[in-house]
Symmetry: C3
Subunit: 181 residues, 3 copies
């Protein structure tokens, strides 16, 4: 299986992903980290944020190259984003040329209700995040779903919308496990 897992910050995809990777003997690959490693190895840049400042054609090459590597892996969970929220709008994390190289068997969208996401972000002091209202979070959650179904049509991969409520991690993991049966 090559599974893509995405979700807005605070949806809790990391805990779910780790648990499922563990139970199913899958590796977790972070797409952004893989791109950064490729960029470093070619002396293009050394930090994540400046990738976006590279010429667009070089960014695309890095994206494709990273995606191609993942497409060659088996039993892997890809930690990435369907949309990345920036002041300039929602950037697609899985444009067609990335998606078709990865060629996933499943796309999992991890969700939670906006007020739970808000609370989790507030409690997480390890990352600096811009404040978002429940309405902002709702918009981002919706954007991810719109994107997920477009990705599904381009690849044939099913979309699992996985709700990760407070205190119900085990239920979410068990639902995810259905896809491996």
């Amino acid at each position: 299986m090559r599974v893509i897992v995405a979700g807005v910050p605070g949806a809790g995809k990391t805990s779910i992903m780790r648990e499922v990777a563990n139970r199913t003997n899958h590796d977790i690959v972070n797409y952004g980290t893989l791109m950064l490693e490729l960029a470093k190895s070619r002396n293009l840049t050394n930090d994540r944020d400046s990738i976006r400042k590279l010429p667009i054609e070089i960014q695309k090459e890095l994206q494709k190259e990273a995606a191609r590597k993942i497409g060659e892996m088996d039993d892997v969970i890809v930690d990435t984003h369907l949309t990345i929220k920036t002041p300039a709008g929602y950037f697609p994390g899985l444009p067609e040329w990335v998606l078709k190289e990865i060629n996933p068997n499943l796309i999992v969208v991890v969700e939670a209700v906006p007020h739970e996401i808000m609370r989790r972000r507030r409690l997480d002091n390890t990352r600096k995040r811009d404040f978002e209202t429940q309405g902002d979070i709702k918009e981002h959650l919706d954007a991810n779903k719109y994107a997920a179904f477009a990705c599904s049509i381009l690849t044939g991969a099913p979309v699992m919308i996985l709700t990760n409520r407070d205190g119900m991690l085990e239920q979410a993991v068990e639902r995810f496990m259905e896809a491996f049966k």
Copy 2:
């Protein structure tokens, strides 16, 4: 016209489709049945459920072949799904390679309000269906719409969102008929 008609179970697409096919002299082709016939004629399988257990490349070949046949038909209403709900997620009924072979002139999404769909399912004893809450049904209705608009962009076909309220079949049929003017 080559018209795709889709809708969640209980939305009532069958009654609408039959009436419109009748008034417009179109044939109805069930995409799943066509795939099954192809699978049978090649001695691949004899029942619908085991198609999904065939190797993925063979499934894709069957999908494409069925879609190609439909793409050669005129005046046909294609009875199919935008998304198929399974424990492993929503499978796309119209991935790009199917869609571009069918090359539809119109995509009709038949809808109803969740509580009406729930009631219709409860009254229909002919099929065994998993129980779904109104929230589940809402999610499936939404998934269909997200998928429909992605299909529209890939084909240029318009999307008609057709509400089929209890006791208002004739109104739904008449709205559908607008597309044949």
Copy 3:
């Protein structure tokens, strides 16, 4: 920058677009007008409404040709639609073959709350518009967003959802300007 700006009638995209074009030194190109000019120069038709009555292959050629011209322009804001509401359904304003020729850097969806859109339409006597309920308008707003994210995945362009509330044009313009930083 090649920026696509879309929005339902009454969302107020024209005022925003003009102001941003002005501040950023971009030209505004109306996609429909460009298609009409091409149709006229080939003696195919003289009015906008009859373009849709031309054979579908000729329409596609016109669409592609107009899109190709825009794809060659720099610093342009493209005034167009994500979906065009007709009695036969929502037509895609940016099918794949148009989208990939335009190859935008940004897709802006201008929105407002349904009741504000309703009021603006009522106050605008210059155009004849079919009456739509708030529910109808909501459906159209949603359709545009579904389409926008599919377009984003096909092109890699980010989607900016831009709310244009009554009396808050300057705020909307300033948010739009973020994309030019």
